[in-house]
Amino acid sequence: MSEKTVALFVSCLVDQISPEIGVATVRLLRRAGCQVDFPDAQTCCGQPFFNSGLRNQARDLARRTIEIFEPYDAVVLPSGSCSSMVAAEYVHLFEDDPDWEARAEALGAKTFELSRFLVRQGWAPPGSDAAPTVTYHDSCHANRLLGLGGEARQLLESAGCRVVEMVESDRCCGFGGLFSIKMPEVANAMTREKLRQAVDIEVDVLVSIDPGCLMQMEGLVDPDGPRVRHLACLLEELG
């Protein structure tokens, strides 16, 4: 495995609310043989503003993010949704601006969600006897915009987890960013349905690669139900 320097784009949610996901990510990347750098100027990829229709603000934050991360060979995010913003949506923000569009495209091509990056690095976690039975939530943007899902399942199985599927692993958890605050009754009903499907298959852990989905599901999960955890935290803990 070649030693490689990657820039960690931790996302604002992880930075401020779930820093343990960032810590686990750094440790996993190091186990996979990477040098990790954390560009301190980073804040937010701009997705909340893009989704709210504040396109100018989304563009400003995208330009800022591109400037911060474009010097690196690879950028890794422990968030499927933010990865999709950088890798799939940035180019659409600059359709009328060829220079920035090219820079957005170049950054998109070297931006990876964590599970995909680890698998592409050829890294696999060692099997653990303590590995729980899990189910994987196919978060929407990771699944539909980036085609992610196989990587996380592969890593979980390699760690010794039994992966059981929900009826609709790709059904939205209800988060949707500010949607969960703008329409909380609807979002919560969606989350309860998601959690019901996880409870039905009697797993120990409901795994996601998205801090947003996790925050949403953690907010309503039953104390007796499955634990809700980020892939990085689970893998890091299993060793």
Partner: protein, 470 residues
Amino acid sequence: MSASISQFRSQADSAINDLPLQEAIDTATGNFWRGREGALEELPDSEGLRDHFKAIRSATLAQLDEHLESFESNAKAAGTHVHWAEDAAEACRIVIDIGKTRGVTLATKGKSMASEEIHLGVALEEAGIESVETDLGEWIIQLAGDPPFHIIAPAIHKRRDEIVTLIENASGESLQSAEIEDLVAASRRLLRSRFLSAGMGITGGNILVSETGSLVLVENEGNGRFVSASPPVHIALVGLEKVVPTWDDAAVWLQLLARSSTGQPLSVYTNVVTGPRKVDDEDGPEEVHIILLDNGRSQLLGGKYEEILQCIRCGACLNICPVYREVGGHTYRSPYSGPIGAVITPLLMGLEEYPALPQASSLCGACRDVCPARIDLPRMLVELRNDEVEQGLVPWSVRRAEEAAAWMLMDVDRYRRLTGLMRTAQLPVLKDGDLRMPSFLDPSKGRKLKGLAPRPFREIWQSELEGGDG
């Protein structure tokens, strides 16, 4: 009608807490989306067929005027009267004028979303023409005075006991212990007399085939055929985006339509109407009228929303939508609900009237996955949100809060300082890492909200991780 955020939220909340309704929605939409998956798997290359269909739809819309003109001249050659209706009022007026000219007092109706869109039933009633819905689901909601709950299954919200009472009241028969077959039979007896005495039949239309000037009408109950063939006059009300140049194109459409909506390879009846009855035909109407309904559609041509005109009203996006499956159809306060409703309603009826609908989505993208024309519905929802910002339709406080957040995030020192202040400010309401707010202030309505972590990741990085093995 209109739908503000607060209306949408409170109506959604009622639907979410109505458990029998939730079960009815789950059963109906579940059967539909599972049926769709199975039906598409039967095709040798359903993905390729969808690509082909998308290409047909976008190429046709790019030259819609030419295709409509050629449809009009071929339909006229076949003896059909073709009318152009710029808006709902004109479409209703055309129908009423035809009815008045023929002295019609009773009209039978086939299921038509376009007629729901223009509120044709109300207009006919005001003009003194009785109209009777003949699709079973539409008839039930007509008896109940409800709007449709779903594009293809308008009455899924009605419980069995409610339906029994409605049909009892309409028929005068006692049906309390009736089986479903008996209910259908009672409806059939009632509707049969109306079919035979109606002075005109009004239907929608699924496809307009330009090369022969034909109308294609699909349905499952035979009522559409009865309505279009039995009365002396048949009027079809069709959105002007429903045209294709050739029968080859129509065949692709038909292969995808029923599969995407109910999971059937084809619907039970596929009716083709090419002009009125010919001299040696045994039956069929004496007059056929096709009304090409614009009502805001042509304004979308050539703009960022043109793609929405590729919709064929199959309902697949409703059946897969995690929002529709919780809030149901009536919450959208429009005949068009679900993802397609959230886009087409504001476009046809005014964004200022329906500001809630583009917000009623987590942008999960499941709708785009199942759309037979691969319409990028999430992209259009974001475009509409953008329009709301530009047109000043976003509440002032929301707009200012979001702008302030963006301003904070544009500068890392500002971000560090302000998140530091928030860390202190949250302390009075922080308990075990969660924000505990009085319920009237709770923005998440009962969902636990995590507060900011004691230390942000960037501090942990600096003190414990940077340069080390952590």
